[in-house]
């Protein structure tokens, strides 16, 4: 055993001593929260296509579970060691990842936050994202307009993302309430509202199973709920199942955010009333283009005027347009959907 140890140590030292800089071509990293959520799968496809078109290498990493900060830290370290030119990241823990992002920037890598802004937002060189607050606001306005006068007596279930309150979940939630016309109290936190129309705040982990359980919990509090806000379409689909189980699927408005193809199909089928569609493919391909530019001459990407990030756009998709709320129809939503 000793011989083996000493041998390894010697070989390591010998090879490491003659370390030479590798002359590899430009490469980029994409770090997503998980690699099972279709949103991130699509993002990866968009990045891979853009990387191939630009002739650069792309390495993709993901956490094992949502909220897996450790795996993302390890991925950033790998990108630095790998000599990548830039990193595109959707952070699992927007505050905890910051020291690693700083490390990467100090090492000369361009770091772009995709979809989810870091905390603080300027910890990354740039942020390419959906305006999640606007996305929430659109479905809030649509729900209020669709209910008309009944909006004053609405009973709302808020199906959020996670108890750690990631910014994306907070922005959508608070945007929805603002659009609906409810006082958000502290706009940086959900769950502190005092409006009696909000029946419950439950977390879903952004999947069907979580959505169903959360909806069941809310119905236990008040079976008369008639408006359901959901963090994303899988959660909405789960909530619909819980409502269908008690025969209330037709008299409840479910609104959501994402614009994935199954979600848009659910809008067509009447499962979801309206959803705000975002464009992950565009985020990823713009991100890769920015890294290529940065690697070539050090140009940093610029923000959308008036915002502290680059807005990749959002559209409301619904089968029943409401007065005063701009929307696109299901056919157009299907053309532009992902996943």
């Amino acid at each position: 055993m000793k011989k083996l140890l000493i041998g390894t140590a010697l070989v390591t030292i010998a090879t490491a001593g003659s370390a030479l800089a590798d002359d590899h071509a430009t490469s980029a990293c994409l770090i997503t929260k998980t690699d099972t959520n279709p949103f991130f799968v699509k993002m990866r496809e968009g990045a891979a296509a853009a990387a191939e078109a630009a002739g650069i290498t792309l390495n993709s990493y993901a956490g094992q579970v949502d909220g897996d900060n450790e795996a993302q830290v390890a991925a950033i370290e790998t990108c630095i060691a790998n000599g990548a030119s830039g990193i595109l990241i959707t952070a699992s823990d927007t505050a905890a990842i910051v020291p690693s992002v700083e490390q990467a920037r100090e090492a000369g890598l361009l770091v772009i936050a995709l979809d989810t802004p870091l905390d603080p937002i300027d910890a990354a060189d740039a942020t390419f994202a959906t305006d999640n607050f606007l996305a929430g606001e659109l479905i809030g306005q649509w729900a209020a307009a669709t209910l008309g006068d009944d909006a004053a007596n609405a009973k709302i279930a808020m199906l959020d993302l996670a108890i750690s309150q990631p910014t994306v979940g907070v922005l959508r939630d608070q945007g929805f309430l603002t659009g609906f016309g409810i006082d958000t109290v502290d706009v940086n936190r959900w769950g502190d509202e005092t409006d009696e129309r909000i029946i419950c705040n439950e977390v879903t982990a952004g999947n069907e199973e979580g959505g169903r359980t959360a909806m069941e919990n809310c119905l236990a509090v008040d079976p008369e709920i008639n408006v359901v806000y959901t963090i994303n379409e899988p959660a909405a689909a789960g909530a619909y199942e819980a409502l269908a189980a008690i025969g209330r699927e037709d008299d409840v408005l479910i609104v959501s955010v994402d614009g994935g193809c199954p979600g848009i199909q659910n809008v067509a089928d009447g499962v979801i009333g309206a959803t705000s569609q975002q464009y992950p493919l565009l985020m990823a391909s713009l991100g890769i283009e920015a890294i290529v530019k940065y690697a070539a001459d050090g140009t940093l990407p610029e923000n959308t005027p008036g915002k502290n990030f680059l807005d990749t756009g959002v559209s409301l998709v619904t089968g029943q347009p409401a007065d005063g709320v701009e929307s696109i129809d299901v056919a157009e939503g299907t053309d532009r959907c992902w996943g």
Binding site: M1, L5, V11, A19, G67, E70, E77, A81, S164
Partner: protein, 356 residues
């Protein structure tokens, strides 16, 4: 010369004859290998580790085989490594601890929040965190040794209790690195590093190695260590031989809890922040058990070398880093590690035959 003395002459005359001695009857290479592995249980993981480093070095070249990357692997496994040290102690007594990761995360939150919420000096908060770790270990130890609840059940419950306490106590607040740097540098102490050439050794990594060396010495050369092995091998026989089984179990669980609290300190140093939703709380137990099992330590207790757990953690780290650098889908890493786990236990069963 009396009769009674003369029989000793037989010994003198027949020094060539062997008396009570184990005969190595197995012939051939395989038999010898099996015997060697039985004597040195950490040999297999070490060979796998060296092979893996060599293979990835050949495929990836200088990017992987540089002092920077190789020491980076050490930094990436330091938390799981320390947790695996705690896990090893418990598994050597034929137990299992599902709560190690959760205890570590709770201790990070205690160390952080006592400093920031209650204004306790950071050094004192560290000690409070360590005390909590040891205290939780003591509760588990008592339930296992006195109340006779199986360790799996005790720590399964403890895992949930500790995770929930973490969320409740922290109110899900992440403490940011900028605050920690400004007001509690002591918490970040283990994140400091020594640079030698391109190699980076964080204090956390050095502490992890010291923990393994110290425990290896204690397990091999002290009465306490031999008692741990004896209790794990056969508690009744140990009791009959005069070992205080209750005291030994208590000491093991308290020690494991303490080491988890040390892992908490290592964690704060590594991430420079305190996040109650750190995934170590949820998967740290599985990761540490994986390291221990790949390290050739028997889940049936009483057998294995603690260095095996260290090598086991490193093997996982090397695979993860190598496959990431090669740009492979992360699922391949999990698939390969799954195969390693089953392979390691299959090998363990084969080696055990040497003693039967």
């Amino acid at each position: 010369m009396t009769e009674s003395q003369s029989y000793e002459d037989v010994v003198k005359d027949k020094t060539e004859t062997h008396f009570a001695q184990f005969e190595d009857e197995r012939k051939g290479l395989i038999g010898k290998v099996q015997h060697a592995l039985h004597l040195n249980p950490a040999l297999v993981p070490l060979i796998i580790l060296v092979t893996a480093i060599g293979l990835f070095g050949m495929i990836l070249g200088q990017r992987f085989f540089s002092p920077g990357t190789l020491t980076l692997i050490l930094q990436q496994v330091q938390i799981v490594g320390v947790l695996a040290a705690a896990q090893t102690l418990v598994i050597l007594t034929a137990g299992i601890d599902l709560s190690v990761g959760a205890i570590a995360v709770l201790c990070t939150v205690i160390m952080g929040q006592f400093t920031f919420r209650y204004g306790v000096p950071a050094e004192l908060s560290l000690l409070i965190g360590l005390a909590f770790g040891g205290g939780i270990g003591a509760i588990s130890g008592f339930l296992v040794s006195r109340v006779k609840i199986p360790p799996f059940i005790v720590t399964l419950g403890m895992w949930q209790i500790v995770l929930a306490s973490t969320y409740l106590f922290s109110r899900n607040e992440t403490l940011r690195s900028s605050d920690l740097r400004a007001d509690a540098p002591a918490l970040l102490f283990l994140g400091n590093k020594i640079q030698i050439g391109g190699a980076n050794f964080t204090f956390g990594v050095i502490l992890m190695i010291l923990i393994f060396v110290a425990l290896a010495y204690a397990l091999r050369a002290t009465a306490w260590g031999r008692h741990v092995y004896a209790v794990g091998d056969d508690p009744e026989a140990a009791q009959l031989a005069g070992v205080n089984v209750h005291k030994t179990l208590m000491s093991v669980y308290i020690m494991a809890g303490l080491i988890c609290a040390v892992a908490a300190w290592v964690m704060i140093g590594r991430f420079s922040s305190v996040s109650p939703s750190a995934s170590t709380g949820v998967i740290g137990n599985i990761q540490s058990i994986t390291a221990v099992v790949i390290g050739g330590i028997s889940l049936f207790g009483g057998r294995g070398s603690i260095f095996g757990a260290f090598f086991g953690a490193l093997i996982v780290g090397v695979f993860e880093m190598g496959l990431r650098m090669a740009g492979a889908d992360p699922q391949w890493t999990f698939l390969l590690i799954g195969m390693l786990i089953i392979g390691a236990v299959a090998l363990d069963q084969w080696i055990r035959k040497v003693s039967s």
